[in-house]
Every structure is written in C-alpha cells, then in structure tokens.
C-alpha cells in the first residue's frame, strides 16, 4: 500500500478549514441544535457541565486508544481490563483494604493487564494485536467472573462516590480530570519525541526499527498507558454507579474505537490527531443524551454508533485514497499516434 509523504506546506486558510475536526465541530453544533429544539431547558450551562458526568468515564479510554490505533494496532481488551480492575478493587475493599489503597490497587491491576498485552504483542510479533487482545479480553473478563461470580459489590465510602458525582464549584471533578488527561495526552502525542515515534511506528514499523526507534519499548509503553487509563475509567465508572459487577463496561471497546475512528484516526495507522477523538466523545455523548430526551431506547444507540463507525471509516478511506491518488505524479501523456515518430536508424 503506497503512502503519500506529507510535505508541510505551511499554514493557509484553506487547509486549516478543510480539516476533519471542523466537520466534527459542525456535527457537534448540529447535535446540540437538534437537542435544544427537543427540550426548552436544554441550552443552559448546567446541561453542559452535568451531562458529561454521564459519559466521560469512557473518555479516559479514548485517549490511549488513539495512540494504539495510530500505532496501527487495536486493543479490544480495554473494557474487560476496566471490569477486572473494578472487581478486584471492590473485593479487596470488602476484605478490609482501606479504600485509598484499593484505588491504587485498581490502577495497578489495570496497568498490569496493559503490560501483559504489550509484552504478548511484542514477544509474539507473528500475532496481530487483534487476536492477542481478543484472548486477553476473554481472560480478564473471565477472571472477573471467577472472582465475583454474578454478584454485585458496592457500599464504597462516601468520598469515593464524589469522584463521579462531585464537583469543584460548578465544574464536575470528572471534567477536570478529563481536561488534565486530555492535555497530558495531547502533549505526549504531539509535542514529544515519544509521540513522533508512535506515528513513525504506525507508518512503517520496520522502517522505524531500522531508524533506531525502540519499537518494542514504545509499543509496550502505549499498552501500559492504555491499561492505566482503563483503571481510571473503572474508578470513575464504579464511583458513578455506586457498585460493580463482572459485566460492567461491556461494549465500551466498541464505543471507544468508534469515537477514535470518528475522530479521524486512520485504522491503518500513522494518521490522525488527538483533537478529533476528543470532539467525538462529546458528539456521541450528547447524541446519546438527545436520544434520551425523545425516549428512544438505548439499543437504538447501538445502531447509531455502528453506523457512525462504518460511515466515518468509509469517508476517511475515500478521502485518504483521493489524497494518495492526487499525490501520484500524473502519468506521461500517451504519444499522439498521428505525430510521426522519429526512427532511430
């Protein structure tokens, strides 16, 4: 598959406004316009501050997933990781572990899950990340079932529930945490050599390795980060729900991947920015909220997320294909047969 080398042509109005992100901004505005016609109470500051509390827990997965997909890989074990971490946290808390330590344990378990993924993927390069994370997805969820069977576990201390529902002034804590993580991941991906290397690996793993990029270390780091962020997701999710079960966060992996792809990150790797996925989180979140306003059942959201995923991949594929074709130098014009050809004696 040929890839066009993008030469930075400097800044111009045209290229600035032709970015994918602007399309997302338009969609976001459209969703909000529709929502505000549905409910007269919609357009208030409170809506925009409180609604994110209901969907932002997933957002912590979107950022590392963006990195994973830019690497040209995929991680479908994230939801299971979050479930396992939450279950272990709950069980250890009820076994007498103080809650702050249980929270740390949650993050440690999730990070360990990510580490296992990363090690398997880099040690067994013949295997695609799809199959490795598919297997670990089943294993992590399976372990969660072994530990907690079909029980729910809750009764966390009061301060813990403020993680999901509390706010500083009027701004929810989860929104602040999200903003901090977004900035950290934005800087990591776009302003550090670590980020540049992720793009290099996504564009061409072999070339990156031969150029001296420690590809294995970078890949493991990205998967460890993914695990850690799955831990954050499970913290906020458990706090919001007040209890946890082994089947918690089921299907998150799809929504997260859909958001990243909708955000303009190419699934073939090496392309995309963090801004798009971050916008996509809010598009799908508010879309979901609007569907709730008109009483459409939650299952219809499955169809919409699926369609959005497919449509955005289609549009992106066609767009990149168009660009690749344009970058190919035009073929020499065929020689006009009416013109006498010179004969070489």
């Amino acid at each position: 598959m040929e890839r066009a080398i993008r030469v930075d042509k400097g800044w111009s109005w045209r290229t600035f406004f032709l970015q994918w992100e602007w399309l997302l901004v338009l969609i976001f505005i459209a969703v909000n316009v529709v929502n505000s016609t549905l409910s007269p109470y919609y357009l208030t500051l409170d809506t925009f501050l409180s609604t994110p509390q209901t969907f932002l827990d997933m957002a912590f997965l979107v950022m590392p997933m963006t990195m994973v997909i830019i690497l040209g890989m995929i991680d479908i074990s994230v939801a299971s990781t979050a479930a396992l971490a939450a279950v272990i946290m709950a069980v250890c808390f009820h076994a007498g572990l103080p809650m702050p330590l249980a929270v740390v344990l949650n993050l440690a378990v999730a990070t360990a899950c990510g580490l296992v993924n990363g090690i398997l993927i880099t040690r067994f390069k013949e295997l695609s990340s799809v199959i490795v994370t598919l297997a670990t997805m089943i294993i992590y969820r399976g372990i969660a079932y072994v530990i907690l069977t079909d029980q729910a576990s809750g009764d966390f201390p009061k301060w813990y529930s403020s993680l999901g529902w509390g706010s500083v002034g009027k701004v929810p804590i989860i929104l602040i945490a999200f903003a901090i993580c977004a900035v950290v991941f934005g800087v990591l991906l776009h302003k550090t050599s670590f980020g540049r290397r992720i793009y290099a690996i996504g564009n061409n793993l072999t070339a990156a390795r031969y150029s001296g990029v420690k590809t294995d270390a970078i890949i493991v780091t990205v998967f460890v980060l993914t695990g850690l962020m799955a831990g954050f997701t499970s913290l906020f999710l458990t706090s919001r729900m007040g209890s946890t079960r082994p089947n918690v966060a089921q299907g998150y992996e799809l929504s997260v991947i859909a958001m990243v792809v909708l955000g303009g990150v190419s699934t073939s790797g090496g392309k995309g920015r963090i801004g798009g996925p971050l916008l996509a989180i809010f598009i799908i979140g508010f879309l979901n909220y609007g569907l709730g306003l008109v009483n459409i059942q939650a299952q219809s959201l499955l169809i919409i997320v699926g369609l959005l995923l497919i449509l955005s991949v289609l549009v992106l594929n066609l767009r990149f294909r168009g660009r690749a074709q344009r970058s190919v130098p035009s073929a020499p014009k065929p020689v006009d047969s009416s013109e006498p050809t010179k004969r070489i004696p």
């Binding site: 995929i74 695609s128 294993i139 399976g142 299907g251 299952q299 699926g306």
Partner: protein, 328 residues
C-alpha cells in the same frame, strides 16, 4: 523441506487428538456418565452450531480477516424467523431456514462489500455491523421474547428432530463440513481462498479475483450464521434480543484452536473439526465435573491464548528446523 512442513502440520492434529483423548479420560474418571452414548450425542448436538459457524470463520480467517458479527447475525436471523413462525404457523421449516439464511446473506454481503470494495478493516467493519445487527434485533423484537408455545412443532423439529437417531443439527453440521472439505481442497475457488490469504499481492498478480473472493467469504459466513441462527432458536425454543451474546468469541476460539492461522492462508479442515470438538467438550463438559460455570470464560480465554501461542512456537521451531536442514 516438504516433509518437514507436513510433519509439523500433522503434529498439530495429533496433538489436538491426544489432548481430546486425555481430556475425555479425565472427565470419565471424574464423572462416569461422561462417555455414555446419550451424553456424547448431546455434546455433539450442542457443538453442531459452533461447527457450522467455524467453517465460515475458517474461510474468513484464511483471507486474513475476522468476523465479530456472527453472533449478532445468529440473533437477528433467529429472531426474524421465530417472529415469522409466530405470525404464520403453517410455514414450512425449510422456508424458515431459507429465510434465516437470506437474512444472514444480506448482512454478510454488506460486510463483504465494505471490506472487499471499500478496504475497511475486517475488525472495524464487523465490529460496526455487530452493533447495527444487534440493535436491529432489539428494534425488530421490541425487546420481547418469542417463546416455545409461539413456535410451531415443525419449526422446533429443525433442531430436535432426528434421522436414524442422529439429530438434525449433527447431520447438517457433518454435511456442511464434508461439502466444505471438498470445496476448500478440491475446487478452484477454495484454493483461491488460500492464495488470497497467504499472499494478497501475489494473488492479485496471478489474476485471482481477490476482492470477489473476500466478498464471497463474508457472504458465505453470513449465510451460515443465518442457518445457525434458525437452528439455535429452534433448539432452545426461545428467541431473545441477546441470543448468542459473545458467541463470536467461541467461534473464533474454536477456529484458532483448530490451527487456522490468524495471519491467513494456513489451516486444515481436519484441524478445524478437532478444534471445534475440543472446544465443544470444554464448553459442555465442565459443568459435568463440577467446575463452576463462572470459570468457563476464563478457561476459554486461556485456551485461545495457549492455542495461538503454541501455533507461533511450533511455526518458529519448524522454520528453524527447516533452516538447519538447509545448512551444510
């Protein structure tokens, strides 16, 4: 060279067979009712749907693809055929089967179109369609169930009937496996599936219609999933929106366990059948020896991981062996 390869390939089948025998022996020791005729028949009947779908999954994986939408297709095809039976009780079972397969075919064709024509990654396309189809199942059924009393006896007989003591699902599964064996080993299109998977560029250059093959593979997988859906609903005599939730993982697991390489282009029908049976035993026999059903998922996952990792290690070993043979 050729002998070394064939040795390591049959090594896998022998290994699987040995593993099945050992497993059966352990189960028999723990529970003396394990190796009875009726239990074996139950086990095979329960594995039949898995076997039908793993045939389709093998084709998909041979072309370097993956299909996560099969379980959703099972649910939709099963639900729609059950709803039809509920409205028109006199409908013939054959028509019900055809109806389910038609639904599956349409779903498979759409997925195939995305993957073959628009270069969407298989995992993304099927992940998206998994949700669209599952959502459609909810919409079609409005969240309600279709229960046993709403189905005609003829419809339920699709799965509960038998010919000479062998239940219908087993017969269908055996027929499909035989047809598949002939197709993939002795027909041109079947061989082209291997060619496309083992080297897409070379397949293109040799004039194999790569995109058409990939499209075909997903259509067949869809049709098989539709068939599986009808059998599933007839067997459990209940159609629900969350029928077969997570079953796609079992299908992939059985296929990978059978030695079909996830990198595409390699895998044998004999291995596939053994892998499916082994997986069927793990799925159905664990409760018999008092293993908690909550262990099932973790064990399945570990088995998949062990299977793919062994696959890689065996391959590495055989390559090293082949290299050593070439050394002077």
């Amino acid at each position: 060279m050729k002998r070394a390869v064939s040795l390591s390939e049959s090594f896998r089948e022998i290994g699987l067979l040995a593993f099945i025998v050992i497993l059966c022996a352990i189960f028999q020791l723990r529970n003396h009712n394990f190796l009875t005729l009726s239990n074996i028949r139950d086990l095979l009947t329960n594995t039949a749907i898995l076997s039908i779908l793993s045939v389709g999954m093998m084709m998909v994986i041979l072309t370097r693809g993956i299909d996560l939408s099969v379980a959703a297709t099972i649910a939709l095809a099963g639900m729609v055929s059950a709803l039809t039976v509920n409205s028109f009780r006199a409908i013939s079972p054959v028509l019900s089967i055809l109806e389910g397969m038609a639904i599956g075919t349409v779903a498979g064709a759409l997925i195939g179109l995305l993957i073959a024509r628009f270069n969407v990654l298989p995992i993304i396309a099927t992940l998206g369609f998994m949700n669209i189809i599952r959502g459609l199942t909810y919409v079609v059924s409005k969240g309600a169930w279709v229960s046993a009393y709403q189905m005609s006896d003829g419809f339920k007989a699709i799965a509960t009937g038998n010919v000479l003591g062998v239940s219908n699902p087993i017969i269908i599964a055996v027929a499909i496996n035989l047809a598949f064996f002939y197709f993939i080993n002795h027909m041109k299109t079947g061989r082209q599936i291997y060619a496309v998977g083992s080297n897409p560029e070379a397949a293109d250059i040799s004039g194999i219609p790569r995109r058409r093959i990939i499209f075909l593979v997903y259509v067949v997988q869809g049709a098989l999933a539709g068939l599986g859906g009808v059998i599933w609903v007839a067997k459990f005599a209940s159609a629900q929106s969350d029928t077969a939730m997570g079953f796609e993982l079992s299908v992939i697991a059985a296929t990978v366990l059978g030695g079909v390489s996830i990198a595409g282009g390699s895998g044998k029908v004999s291995g596939l059948i053994l892998g499916t049976i082994l997986f069927g035993i793990l799925n159905n026999a664990l409760p018999l020896i008092n293993v908690s059903p909550f262990w099932q998922q973790a064990i399945q996952g570990l088995v998949i991981l062990a299977a793919v990792l062994t696959n890689v290690l065996v391959k590495r070993n055989s390559q090293r062996f082949a290299l050593r043979r070439r050394a002077i």
